[in-house]
Symmetry: C2
Subunit: 384 residues, 2 copies
């Protein structure tokens, strides 16, 4: 056991024209603190913040703003960045901090305010996570990158546009059960297939939305966790790995090697097997990526991820419940916050507080958060 | 003892039109690896990179590029950011990682490529580290912020423009002894006083230059350090603290409270007293800041920092040798790299390899790196 999560909080995800990122953080932080009445705020020793605020808000040193907003000034507050993986990187940093013995209780924060920017600006900001000399400067976009992965997977393994659509339909269904989700509308296979083509074979409903939101988790030394919470969840394992930024440099573009490594390391530290996991939040920035990550995480053999969703095995209380929160697809994707939004869902699920989307009999859960084209992947295994 | 530094490396600092940031990193990394022939590169478990690449190079996930350049892909590689304090934050993260037991050998990297930008763009990029609603949007700049601190100090304590000039003259002298310094030209008090006024009372020679450069350090679990190096240096203490981003929110604008806290925490963990330190690298982005930090670090009483430099006590082999490398002022200031450039100097000094600028009889050393207007401060105490 590496550490415990004694509390978590999340803002409602959405397009919030009248809320600053600091207000979204405050919403998440207030919820988080409400679950740990025995914790004096001053016992929080350190803060890690995942965000791309430098681009979206022209704000470096965003940690200081979080510390100030939380009434925690003077505490160390560090911004970490890994594009869409920044949230899980903040969590990982907090866990390592607690493991080191430097601090007992550490706050992990993910926050992003994206919708104040034009879609062009957001596209440009996201592309900063791609390879500079060939991908960025030649105008590639992430929908195009993931479309190439999808085509490769379809060609090699026979996955179809309907399979991708099924991921979207499932996640929109789950999102409709999540009062904090950005998208709460159920959709049909036909809706997906008829939606606007973004980069073939990906259509509008294959892509996650641009969102605003914040999520936080309080990481605590396990020996102290019961002092603050009667139902902490446990961090059992973690793994992180990198791949080339450029998709063109990889031998196999539909195999997210960094994800496979990060998950196998997380299982190894947790001393558990994939088969013991019935609940997972996977980084479905595009529908194809849920399929690729379900393979890399070992829920199916390589090249068989689409069969899982095709046969309904990934629905809530299926063989493995993938993205019961609605995933990035429907819960929304405020980049720096996403990794901790995954953890927030798992925190609720393992405590039995997920209401209409509750996954039953899950003792373990896996979160997989990635940045770029699965170029940095951070995985955590939790238990109750 | 928290951890050991088994090697370090630094590129020459300067304006390098024909070198990318990755090439500057490679220069530093190759030097670093040359000092540890017994280390198989694959034993490096993890990488932390301090940089503002997101702004200067439109590059997030810069950790991946470092890992790829170093032949370390698949290893976790995380970008950390705290404007000019990013380098020391990378070091701190590496130390905490080693202390946690997750990895035995961790690479800390600082890198910045600034000179490809116009001065206006750099000014704008730096201002992202200031308070958004009043400071950024009203066009304040960092020279103006530090000028206000200087005026306050002069008014309260009687420091003079000549005292500030003496900091610049000393650091240019030291830089002239440092073959890797950006500025290797000696200057006189008159040169400083007659140089162009930037924001009164700060003149051109009171300000550090805009630079390109990279610096790295290899942090190792102490028990393993002798396997790789016969002269590792020891990380004895560390501290970090935050203050308001906005200068206007502080009670005392010429007292860097976060620096005082970070240093006292570093001394406490190191179990040593300021008086035992005869060698320090302090963050002299502006001459006034060397004086303020020398007070916060306890080398003089509050309001007496200018007396130290006035009386020549801060020269190499004075009472306390401040910035023997030339400091930010003359060694140069590639923001994300600076914190590790300080550590590179201390690494050489404590090993007795600092050649013409060698400080004698120094058993301990202090590094103080800050971001914004001393809004985040990271301090480390080293020993040999």
């Amino acid at each position: 056991m590496l550490a415990s999560i004694i509390s978590a909080g999340m803002s409602k995800i959405g397009k919030w024209d009248n809320l600053s990122s600091r207000e979204l953080f405050a919403e998440a932080f207030i919820e988080c603190m409400s679950r740990v009445p025995n914790l004096d705020r001053k016992e929080i020793g350190s803060i890690y913040v995942g965000s791309q605020s430098e681009t979206y808000e022209h704000q470096t040193m965003y940690g200081n703003l979080v510390a100030e907003t939380a009434g925690l000034l003077s505490k160390p507050a560090i911004r970490v960045e890994g594009c869409a993986a920044a949230g899980a990187i903040a969590l990982r940093s907090a866990i390592i901090d607690v493991m080191s013995g430097v601090h007992d209780v550490v706050l992990a924060v993910g926050v992003e305010k994206m919708t104040a920017q034009s879609v062009d600006n957001v596209t440009d900001a996201l592309m900063a996570a791609s390879e500079p000399t060939l991908e960025q400067y030649n105008g590639l976009t992430f929908p195009s990158i993931y479309a190439m992965m999808a085509i490769d997977h379809m060609h090699k393994f026979g996955s179809t546009e309907e399979d991708l659509a099924k991921v979207a339909v499932k996640n929109h269904h789950n999102g409709s059960l999540n009062p904090k989700a950005h998208m709460q509308k159920q959709i049909t296979i036909e809706d997906v297939l008829k939606s606007k083509v973004i980069t073939s074979p990906l259509k509008l409903y294959d892509c996650s939305p641009i969102s605003d939101g914040a999520a936080v988790a309080l990481v605590c030394r396990t020996e102290l966790a019961r002092k603050y919470s009667d139902r902490p969840i446990q961090v059992l394992g973690m793994g992180a790995a990198t791949d080339t930024l450029g998709l063109y440099s990889r031998k196999d573009i539909s195999w997210p090697a960094a994800a496979a490594l990060a998950c196998s390391e997380a299982y190894k530290t947790a001393k558990i097997d994939t088969k013991q996991i019935r609940l997972t939040e996977l980084h479905d920035a595009f529908t194809i990526n849920e399929i690729l990550l379900s393979e890399a995480a070992g829920f199916s053999d390589k090249g068989k991820g689409h069969i899982l969703v095709r046969e309904g095995e990934t629905a809530i209380n299926g063989k493995v419940s993938i993205n019961p929160s609605g995933g990035l697809k429907a819960r929304g994707h405020p980049t720096g916050a996403t990794g901790l939004a995954q953890v927030y869902e798992i925190f609720l699920q393992l405590r039995g507080e997920a209401d209409k989307r509750q996954v039953n009999h899950a003792n373990y859960a896996l979160a997989v958060n990635e940045g770029g084209s699965d170029a940095v992947v951070v995985s955590h295994v939790f238990g109750r």
